[in-house]
Symmetry: C2
Subunit: 414 residues, 2 copies
Amino acid sequence: MARFVMKFGGTSVANIALLERIADRVQQVQKAGHEAVLVVSAMGHETDRLVTLAEAVDFQSLATRRELDVLLATGEQVTIALLAMMLLKKGLAAKSYQGHQVRILTDDAHSRARVLSVETEELERDLSQHIVPVIAGFQGVAPNGWTTTLGRGGSDTTAVAVAAALNADECQIFTDVDGVYTTDPRVVSEARCMTRITFEEMLELASSGSKVLHTRAVEIANKNQVSLRVLSSFNEVAGTLITTEDNIMMEAPLISGIAFTRDEAKLTLRGVKDQPGIASSILAPISEANIEVDMIVQNIGADFSTDFTFTVARADFELAQSILTAVSERIGAQEVLGDERIAKLSIVGVGMRSHAGVAAQMFDILANESINIQMISTSEIKISVVIDEKYLELAVRALHAGFGLEADPGAESV
Amino acid sequence: MARFVMKFGGTSVANIALLERIADRVQQVQKAGHEAVLVVSAMGHETDRLVTLAEAVDFQSLATRRELDVLLATGEQVTIALLAMMLLKKGLAAKSYQGHQVRILTDDAHSRARVLSVETEELERDLSQHIVPVIAGFQGVAPNGWTTTLGRGGSDTTAVAVAAALNADECQIFTDVDGVYTTDPRVVSEARCMTRITFEEMLELASSGSKVLHTRAVEIANKNQVSLRVLSSFNEVAGTLITTEDNIMMEAPLISGIAFTRDEAKLTLRGVKDQPGIASSILAPISEANIEVDMIVQNIGADFSTDFTFTVARADFELAQSILTAVSERIGAQEVLGDERIAKLSIVGVGMRSHAGVAAQMFDILANESINIQMISTSEIKISVVIDEKYLELAVRALHAGFGLEADPGAESV
């Protein structure tokens, strides 16, 4: 007997027919002698509808964020009620749970609360009586009893936290894709759905532009050693198992996947005096404006001056540019350059840890296509480059072929 | 300083502009030095939308009623969040409360739960800090932590229960009419909005067809001596105060109001043997089918046989008729007669307690219009008659004029 936490996102619960499909799937799981715990998101565009209502009132202040959480939490509450009804109609025992009923305790940071603990007593009692708990994702309750929500990717986070608390054998994230791909199949037709991948690789892919899973959910799964599986609500496929390195074949491939994003923009401050504290005096005003900085590169230039370059989300570009212009005048820099037409591209793989020369191979492949690299940043298992946006597809295809990602390295060893 | 519980129904919270209007009204109440506690229903047709969703899944069983409550409770939750946001936007301190947060404890009879208690500690703390609590009507929490709903008129019930617990000076029910009328103004153009009325009169009017307030809310208000006021969300009027008899002028009018309903149907079992236990053998199968019986009349006939007549909701007519046909065969009655084209009309007034001849006067007025009375039933402060539906308007107008209801009896003495 295995215990599965099964999470279904908005597109997987968008209508009654899909709820019936989930009920059928749960019935199969139970027939096979396994236990199922469900975690669900709001139906389809329900959250958008609720946000539109809130915007009609205007919710700018911190104070109203508390109420926005109360509003948004209704989305998941509708789904758990309808799905529990559907399970009951199919003859399965089921019971819906709102965040505060489970009780999923969070801190009181409204709209981006962190999960502190998940109570399991009642869930365990349900499971021992073959009752399927249907839990509202995305929501929790603060110590003072207020309703909270977990922010983007919140339902994934709920599922992983519940799986960790219940010692589930697997946390299954049902999506509208077949699993985690080596890169976006819309860009590279040879992109392959991976059988397995490590938590670290998934983290790097998620933070580099792959939208299948939210970083936070992967982090919590990694920390609690919860095996995660990404699979399809619509196709009967095995999906991608995200697990610890120990569970992956001995000889890891050099590169697992390629992620990319067009959502960033680049800013450069030219001719900055190269002296201690200069980076902080540039970035402090940016961060005070709540702008997140991604890649940062500083080169030593001639005449004790340097160029300082960083990337921000494209939505923050104009604000960052105006802040930087003011900074530039204050610290006596030469000029501010900005570029919105960039793309960030990352290759990720635990195999590169033990293999030198992956970076060189990457740069070589790009050079062969005459693609200029504007910025480089590396981590232990990732190399990211910023290039001109117009070369993005060309670069991804060249790297996918160059590193042989279309062949399944785990086909024999798994 | 006075403390008001203000309840706004579905039509009063149907859109954002109306929420703003409520915020303005609360601001006036606070400026006048008073305290406000809000209780709200789901917006406009939201409950209908949710019921449609549930029906798409199919919710026949008792088990799914628990989940239906979870679903329906989202309607009020949306309103409290948006209204609290609106109050905050207007610079007022406000805080939303779901039923379980207040905590409004109910029994576990899903979809028709009864309120057991209302905790006030947190609400009192809010009020002492000039925070406006915005409470979801219609919903509560059972001792086991499950979400419950209170059934029809549930938000009125919530408001009265909260007002009783908080010792509010007045529970104000905001509606789409100006108050409680002597009768339906659509039928009698001279119908007058009453300044005051007793709980008992309101109860009789509500149970006789007046739809302004639900019987349950009036009962709880009466039991807890909470002054109720029905007033308009849309017009600045004083509305109708529903209070104890002591607070009404010494010389009560004979008749306060006329209520009527077309929602009933009449069934007669002719030629029943007049023997002990016969009424029970007729009504038991009806009540076992969950059909509620309203008026019951039995006449002694000739030859030790009798005619037995009662009314049921028109929606139950066909079912009741088929049950009665079976009963008729079993007990050897002569025949079953049914009539759907009836109307029930009631005159209500505490004044009739001390005045004989009100019934005679009523029957006289109807006789002058040549209206035949099919059934009569009386209580201490009410006389109800069943007549042919086609005479209803005529009868109501004749009685309204005959008892002089267009003149305000309290105009001087209040």
